[in-house]
């Protein structure tokens, strides 16, 4: 996984992405703009986070879950 380590925690870049999502970024494009991470990385990261239950998707936008919050608080 691009943004999650084998033990299930977000990488450093993953935490930056989650922080951006917590602050209101809801698409990979917005997260890429806010964090400076490459768009390919944030798109792959969103897939990983959804699969890991750290963010959830509603329509075209995503928001952070309680599980995701644990890693940035």
């Amino acid at each position: 996984m691009a943004c999650i380590t084998p033990d299930g925690a977000p990488t450093q870049a993953g935490r930056r992405m989650l922080q951006a999502i917590k602050q209101g970024a809801s698409t990979p494009e917005e997260v890429a703009r806010q964090t400076g991470l490459p768009i390919f990385s944030t798109r792959a990261g969103f897939r990983d986070f959804i699969e890991a239950g750290m963010i959830e998707q509603e329509g075209d936008v995503c928001r952070i879950t309680e599980k995701g919050m644990k890693f940035i608080t």
């Binding site: 996984m1 691009a2 943004c3 490459p38 768009i39 390919f40 798109r43 792959a44 897939r47 990983d48």
Partner: protein
């Protein structure tokens, strides 16, 4: 169908959609569609820990900021494992001080290299030759380069091709031999006799009606 026929049957062509894939890389599992909206240079090399490839990776990494200025990402590929790629990238950084900033596909299954015609059995049945696919933001293949195993690529030429393609897209012009940004571009040749007659009076720098240049 023998190996050679399979390879030829799957050779992608300029102007066609780039074959989609999902593959393990040094930056996690990536899909071609993850790069949509940006230009992409997909390039293959024969193997990690080989001399010419090492010089190419250093050269690509050193010019990476120039690719980013052109909204272009790099994506390497060889028939090696992710662990091998990570070790190779770490070795390059340790020995040369150059960090590899872009992902590298670990194509052990050869699915991506087969889809892109990167294995040329006349050179090697197991290793990819040095291919370069320049893919535009709509994921259409815009240029293809093939180099033999023994010849390292000219990274500046790859940058120049991207400059040419982006200039063509923006200004609807062509670019002459050895063109560099800032030089005159070629106006598309007229398609009718009337347009050809008018062309010479339009203020372009013309050799003849079919070869006219202008500044942009």
């Amino acid at each position: 169908m023998d190996d050679t026929q399979k390879v030829c049957a799957s050779m992608p062509r300029i102007g066609e959609p780039a074959p989609q894939f999902e593959a393990p890389t040094t930056h996690g599992v990536l899909r071609l569609e993850d790069f949509k909206g940006e230009w992409l240079v997909l390039f293959s090399h024969p193997a990690d820990f080989t001399p010419v490839c090492t010089t190419e990776f250093v050269a690509f990494a050193e010019v990476y900021p120039e690719f980013r200025k052109r909204s272009t990402e790099l994506l390497g590929l060889s028939v090696d494992s992710v662990s091998s790629h990570i070790a190779g990238a770490r070795n390059i950084e340790e020995k040369t001080g150059v960090k590899i900033p872009f992902p590298i596909i670990a194509d052990l299954s050869k699915e991506v290299s087969t889809a892109y015609g990167m294995i040329h059995p006349g050179q090697s049945k197991t290793e990819t030759v040095r291919c370069v696919f320049i893919i535009d933001p709509n994921q259409i293949i815009r240029a293809i380069l093939y180099y033999p195993l023994t010849t390292g690529r000219n990274i500046q030429e790859i940058l120049r091709i991207i400059d040419c393609l982006q200039t063509t897209d923006e200004h609807k012009v062509a670019t002459p031999a050895n063109w560099q940004p800032g030089q005159k571009v070629v106006v598309p040749a007229p398609g009718t006799q009337e347009a050809a007659e008018e062309r010479l009076g339009q203020g372009y720098e013309c050799v003849d009606w079919y070869l006219c240049k202008k500044n942009i």
